[in-house]
């Protein structure tokens, strides 16, 4: 749609997000019992990217990003976030709010909502939180906006990522 202005950012989790802070060992594996369970797990694909983050830290980053987005765009903001399950723990309230939708793949919703809502913010990360998860610790953040003066706000939003050791690709 011609009247939609898109702001894009592609980044990478460069190291642990909260340096010099202890990180709880939250990675769990579902209990395996039958021969089939072991065969399945032995054959699942896996990533060679490092595990730099746990569930709490991942949700903490998403929570802080959503709270900041709500401050920067207090009206008419819709946020789409890719969340890969299992979630490991209860999601923070900000992610359960009614201007947020969490899903496995955000693309279908992006196509439906671009140009339909004033500000559409998408957070699409592949941060690996435990050994079996697939991904390369990348993050893609886009804003599709019907308003044409969002560059400063988008830059403020992206600046926050440095706090978590996320750098531009």
């Amino acid at each position: 749609m011609s009247n939609v202005i898109k702001h894009e950012y592609l980044g990478q989790l460069l190291s642990v997000p909260f340096e010099n802070k202890p990180s709880a060992a939250l990675a769990r594996c579902m209990p395996l019992s039958s021969d089939n369970d072991f065969t399945v797990f032995a054959n699942l694909p896996c990533s060679d990217a490092p595990v730099l983050i746990n569930f709490i830290e991942h949700y903490q980053i998403l929570n802080e990003l959503v709270l900041l987005a709500n401050e920067l765009w207090p009206q008419e903001l819709t946020i789409l976030i890719r969340i890969s399950m299992p979630g490991g723990m209860r999601l923070p309230a900000s992610l359960l709010a009614n201007n947020v939708l969490l899903m496995q793949d955000i693309q279908p919703e992006v196509e439906k909502l671009t140009g339909k809502v004033t500000h559409l913010l998408t957070i699409d990360d592949n941060f690996i939180r435990y050994q079996l998860e697939q991904g390369h610790n990348k993050i893609s953040i886009n804003l599709h906006s019907l308003a044409n003066n969002q560059h400063v706000n988008f830059s403020k939003f992206i600046a926050k990522l440095e706090h978590f050791n996320i750098g531009a690709k």
Binding site: L96, Q104, Q134
Partner: protein, 285 residues
């Protein structure tokens, strides 16, 4: 009366073990996609061409299908392509973050962006299938026996939603009791509403029965079906209305609770025209 009318509910039961030997995720999803497409088509084919045009969305929800996606064994875009190769109105967005309550949160999302005043339809499917035949999913201490299947619900939205849909998260760690209490408070001001609760083992049923002593609840079908995740309330309504044909409009509160405390409660209307389809079980054993 609720502005959410159930036009149809279909349930495709699946066996614990789907295949004699666990195939690739591609093959598993080809098989499951075919079943979901058939189920969707069996519902949409009952609508006139004009009514079919009113279908605005189709969400696919799940609680326990995550491993094939998380590990990169298959992608949602691939599954979506399988589904949408088979015609109109197939599911295009996959939501499992809210676990058993995912159907309610997807409905909330649709209603949030729904700008239309005219009656419109939406489809929500719920799929839970033990694709890798893992023991963990057959039986779990939290809900005992699991039940697997594919549910599709066709809803008509006719009017403006007021308090028909509740999507929340427990604020305590005793989410079972909190869930029952929220339902009790929510149902207090509603006349002639029957509760369709999730299926749980005896000890949890007893807690629900005690906390909801003044409400009318459909029977818990855990003994028959196991815990069927987000499908439970819809299977409960389907089962009840097949056994007791609907002669006049009835209202139900469809209630689902996720292990992490998210819950969805929807007040829906069933009419004598609502279609209920219980399909033959599929799978290996």
């Amino acid at each position: 009366m609720s502005v959410l009318t159930v036009k149809a509910i279909a349930f495709q039961p699946l066996k614990q073990r789907l295949f004699s030997q666990t195939p690739s995720s591609d093959t598993s999803f080809e098989w499951l996609s075919t079943l979901l497409v058939q189920q969707t088509n069996s519902i949409t084919s009952m609508l006139s061409d004009h009514e079919q045009l009113k279908i605005k969305r189709h969400f696919l929800c799940s609680t326990m299908i995550d491993l094939p996606f998380t590990t990169g064994d298959i992608s949602w875009s691939k599954v979506s392509a399988m589904l949408n190769a088979s015609g109109e109105n197939q599911a295009d967005t996959f939501i499992n973050a809210y676990e058993c309550a995912s159907w309610g949160f997807s409905l909330r999302h649709y209603l949030q962006h729904d700008q239309q005043g005219t009656p419109r339809f939406l489809l929500v499917s719920i799929i839970d299938a033990n694709i890798f035949d893992l023991e963990f999913w057959r039986y779990n201490e939290n809900w005992h026996e699991s039940g697997f299947g594919i549910t599709t619900v066709l809803l008509e939205v006719n009017g403006t939603i007021t308090d028909e849909l509740l999507t929340q998260c427990a604020s305590t760690h005793n989410s079972m009791a909190e869930f029952a209490t929220v339902i009790r408070r929510h149902a207090t001001n509603k006349k002639d509403v029957t509760l369709a609760m999730p299926f749980f083992p005896e000890h949890i049923q007893q807690m629900f029965n005690k906390l909801l002593v003044n409400q009318t609840c459909l029977p818990d079908l855990h003994t028959d079906w196991g815990h069927c995740f987000g499908s439970d309330p819809w299977l409960s309504i389907l089962n009840h209305c097949q056994e007791n044909p609907v002669l006049k409009e009835q209202e139900f509160l469809a209630c689902s609770l996720a292990l992490n405390g998210y819950f969805s409660i929807a007040q829906v209307k069933v009419t004598p025209q609502t279609q209920f389809i219980l399909q033959e079980v599929k799978g290996h054993e």
